[in-house]
Point group: C2
Chain length 723, copies 2
Amino acid sequence: LKFWFKSRFLFSGSASAAEDWWLRTCASEEWNRRSGFDAGHLRHRMHLQSCNTKKLTTRQMSDFLHTSVTYYGARSFAADRSAPVTSQATAPSSSPVVGETGSVSGDKFARDKDLLADLCKRRFFYRQAFDIYGGVAGFYTYGPPGSAVKNNIIKQWRSHFVIEESLLEIEDTCIMQHDVLKASGHVDRFNDFMVKDVSDESRFFRADKLLEDVMEQKLKETVTEEERVEYESVRNQADSYSREEISDIFKKYKIVSPETGNPLSDPYEFNLMFPTPIGPGGYLQGYLRPETAQGIFLNYKFCLEQNGNRLPFGVAQIGRAFRNEIAPRAGLTRQREFTQAEIEYFVNPKDKAHPKFGSVADLVITLWPSPQQLAAQGTVQMRVGDAVAQGVINNQTLGYYVTRTFLFLTSSGVDKKFLRFRQHLPTEMAHYACDCWDAEIFSSYGWLETVGIADRSCFDLTAHANASGTDLQYKEKLDQPIEKELLTVTKASGIAFMKAFKKDGKMMRQWVESLEETELEKLQSSLRKGPSEVEVDGRKFTILPELLVCERTKQKVSVNAYTPGVIEPSFGIDRLFVSIMEHVFYARPKDDSGDDKQTRGVLSFAPSVAPYKCTILPLDQRISRSDKYDELVTKFRSELAALGMSYTIDESGATVGRRYSRNDELGVPFAVTFDFTTLEDSTVTLRERDSMAQVRLPLSSVANLVRDFCLGETTWESVVAGK
Amino acid sequence: LKFWFKSRFLFSGSASAAEDWWLRTCASEEWNRRSGFDAGHLRHRMHLQSCNTKKLTTRQMSDFLHTSVTYYGARSFAADRSAPVTSQATAPSSSPVVGETGSVSGDKFARDKDLLADLCKRRFFYRQAFDIYGGVAGFYTYGPPGSAVKNNIIKQWRSHFVIEESLLEIEDTCIMQHDVLKASGHVDRFNDFMVKDVSDESRFFRADKLLEDVMEQKLKETVTEEERVEYESVRNQADSYSREEISDIFKKYKIVSPETGNPLSDPYEFNLMFPTPIGPGGYLQGYLRPETAQGIFLNYKFCLEQNGNRLPFGVAQIGRAFRNEIAPRAGLTRQREFTQAEIEYFVNPKDKAHPKFGSVADLVITLWPSPQQLAAQGTVQMRVGDAVAQGVINNQTLGYYVTRTFLFLTSSGVDKKFLRFRQHLPTEMAHYACDCWDAEIFSSYGWLETVGIADRSCFDLTAHANASGTDLQYKEKLDQPIEKELLTVTKASGIAFMKAFKKDGKMMRQWVESLEETELEKLQSSLRKGPSEVEVDGRKFTILPELLVCERTKQKVSVNAYTPGVIEPSFGIDRLFVSIMEHVFYARPKDDSGDDKQTRGVLSFAPSVAPYKCTILPLDQRISRSDKYDELVTKFRSELAALGMSYTIDESGATVGRRYSRNDELGVPFAVTFDFTTLEDSTVTLRERDSMAQVRLPLSSVANLVRDFCLGETTWESVVAGK
């Protein structure tokens, strides 16, 4: 997710030549893709290139060969957004099905994909935007149930993070000015490669996708084993080439414009931000934000004030982000406009302990640490406390948010069998980053990064402090003053200032003695070149070199200034929506009544996530036309509304069974049926979606019962058992 | 609001010449301003122009003179965003202070403005966006308490409208394609006038604003009475001139570029939508949506399906909208990026009764109907049932939403003394619209349109149906088939078709017999001119005039097709935020302790709207450092979080009194103080914000009590009385 949403910085750090090359490779790959990291890609590519062009140690060579083999074994489970899960691979050790005998198999997602897609369109969970105008790729509209589910996910996120973690939530703008996104690196490096048909510029292609298509095409023809390996290898690393490499490959395979056969332009970089002018004339360039995180960094200083100038604290933002994809084609998981929920948790970089870590330390979760990935081993089940103690996870705050993310995802409907936390390889991370974990969820899209949890160090604040000229350092008041060696003006020099400037002497002495170390150093070096002019209190004064004499003295200081580090959990809400939909969907076996003409799909949402909490069904029109029903249902509806429980009413003439099925498709957990008995004694039947079991209850108790379900304060079992 | 947010269409209808002129005048004004309608402007301008240039009946003349006088009387209460409320006017009959003896006066808003602005910045309710980079006009960031209040307003809106009215909520995109906004009229008519410095194009001005400034300047000089009237009149109608008029006026007063003195360009139209290219190359033009309503019209068809193909039903959308203001300068009330909540309620245009109207009919609200405005009379207090029965409000659905809006606004914190519903003048409305009411709220900005509730007829759906070629008619299945006179092909003519086209005869007969009435009429009129070529099943056929013979027959039809009408309540959430802030703010008198160095502001939010529901205060650090406190507070926090109650903790060393004041500023309704007694018996004091009264309670009961307050299930009085 990190890469998909942000990939803000990847520079090569100081390292050996081989590492340098590796880092450089990864950096360009990441900036060119941001496509959900596929560890296999990188490692396989390492292998190929190292064998061909690089001199590496035997150990490195062996590792690369090893991971290359692993890659082909693991491919079908790699987070590859373009290729659906194929059957070419044997199940690798990281497969979600291993060790889960008798449980739902991961195959089900690919198998159910069309059924679910049909349901989503038919019941308007979502559909392509501007549909009546023909639609535009990469834009989607959430319909009533989809919008309700998405809102419920966001509501739960807010409760789980903002309220429970006492985060400061802000709301920044979607349009951001150029300077901000220049400083963040997006203006220069948020690019994909593109090629154009030289004779018809309206035909353009994302270079890596076109290359993949061409290789797929070649693979369908009769090929030798050698060619097969070559084409597959090119296809698999299509999105990781540098500009020069992809240019060479296009030439090598003589790739032309698909339909016209015309030559193509050289691949060039296309910035993925949507530009828009602010105000008339285009004098102020704006962009739609590519992530919500930047708005938080811009307001760190003001949020710190609200937090009583104390660290650590977290700031959250939920909102739209925008990415002008060249040619998006992966449904909701790759939209041009999508919803993020991001947290920036600011910490003392030397103390990343989290006060509430103890409360989660005993939880056991599925981790895929980078050493295991590099050694071609599978995931491990680990107690989070142990993971942090053993250094698998870098620090408590990171570990805390990994665990809180696990709890949030599983409580929202993600099946924990299909959830893993994959650590970024050292090569995937920016040089300043300490550690990064992606929450990957398995679905018909493969393993999909849905949350990134990164320790980004102090990079972002430093970038904005430099670009904006604003001091974003944290001034920690020390309980005990500490001794520090400081550059100061000698007492004699201070007196010399006083004498030299006569009536302004006192002011000038105060001025020079109040200069901070860095300013004093600047003045020193300037005076080495001769007399310097300075401005004090709005007037100019010339200082002679001999006047300034400094010394290094030990002083007690009570303030420690530093730029905070930041831990960033970043959620892709639409990807989570997709994952939840796939995880909670199942097809109910057809019954014998013959009433079923189509598969009866069920969305088994948690009550808190379900789009509507119950549905109201009069048995038939004899009921729905009675005055007593009107009276009862009006009262019941206002009870539900007062509790904030959304509901639907189905007064159509269809059989009750068919109406139950319709509401199962929407994932409504309960149906409240009004029948003839209801008109007599005001009792109703309450039917639960998954068990299809029913109980008879006084109508007056139902609204509160539904609310209690949604808050998790009661269960169906206890209702069936008569509480 | 209608005008500010949308002003989608204003065409001249069929009317007398004078009406035509009036309509034309209003139309251009509205399209040039969208600035919050100021009735006085229009009417005064009518007067001026009619006296000078038009021949009108004596009656019209008299009316205009009358309204012109009214205008100057009412000016200080007109919704004029640029001019603050001035003291120049005598209180008109629509003044909020009249008839409210002893109550809060409307002056308080202007008086408190600076205090509140200081509080908002200091406590980060909101501030200019990109502040550390210097800020950009028209963009604001909501900080933690502001964002929480805004979210609570939206939450309450969703509960009040989406859930209680069973609306279908959707989530469409912010970026919309050109075709959609071309059809809606925004591409062609969503403009303001601009002028540029001819020698320095980076100096540009909104023409009407520059004109206002120039007139203000002239008014400050020594002027004759005649000049004063002239300058004031030009200033007051600056934003309502046509392009030709404003161009002439700029020439007349020889207006030049303010700082350089250079000549200015002729005024020209600047489109207020933010353009952005979709995908590379700019082959698909996009814009940021200027309103959320269009997304609803685009998805009307799919929502109707979800509603079981039944009318009436409503669709809602909450989200950002964007407007590229030339030079915004009215704070949160005129942002380049703002939040709307809109409803489109689709009805049978011939039956606008609302099933729940009876439940609101007895409510009495403040209306300012258009006849009262035109007759220079004030607002009236009316029972909504009477208003609809007497035709003051056009229909039940409109009346229902006016009332629901009243209930929503007052429950969110708007003081009903400063709330009125102003009907649009006949001249303000588009020709297709039936009726429109603005909820105007009085604040330091004057009367500010915050909600528009319009009966827009079937205009929008028709526009999109035509532009997209999609059938958006509603097919009403009739219980009883009705007889309708229809134009049909005679049987003999059908047979003639069959014979004439030989082997294609059957197909051609079927084709001609299946033509709808309008198509048949088209074909008839085409054949009157001679043989016509038609395309059937992809092939072309020539039809001779004598072949087609039609007749009018009575037929029984069981489907009645029509385009639904739409009632549109449209809320400006940021304007509502501003209004609530001003209405709930008050300055507490300084006490004698001398502890007060600054005015102690209080935000008296309703508990449901308050940013945090309570604050936790340890008496001092002896408490906050104790283990018992830790234990108690940890448990209390998790209780609050489980109930979704947001809270703050203030463990700073400030006195309890000062910490109470800090939380009063944030509008936190309750403070929970932990003292030495707490450590012994786990009781705490609960202090209420407005009364400052305290009660001692077991800590274990507090979380539920706070929740009950927020749900309105208990009151402070009953707690003080020991329940």
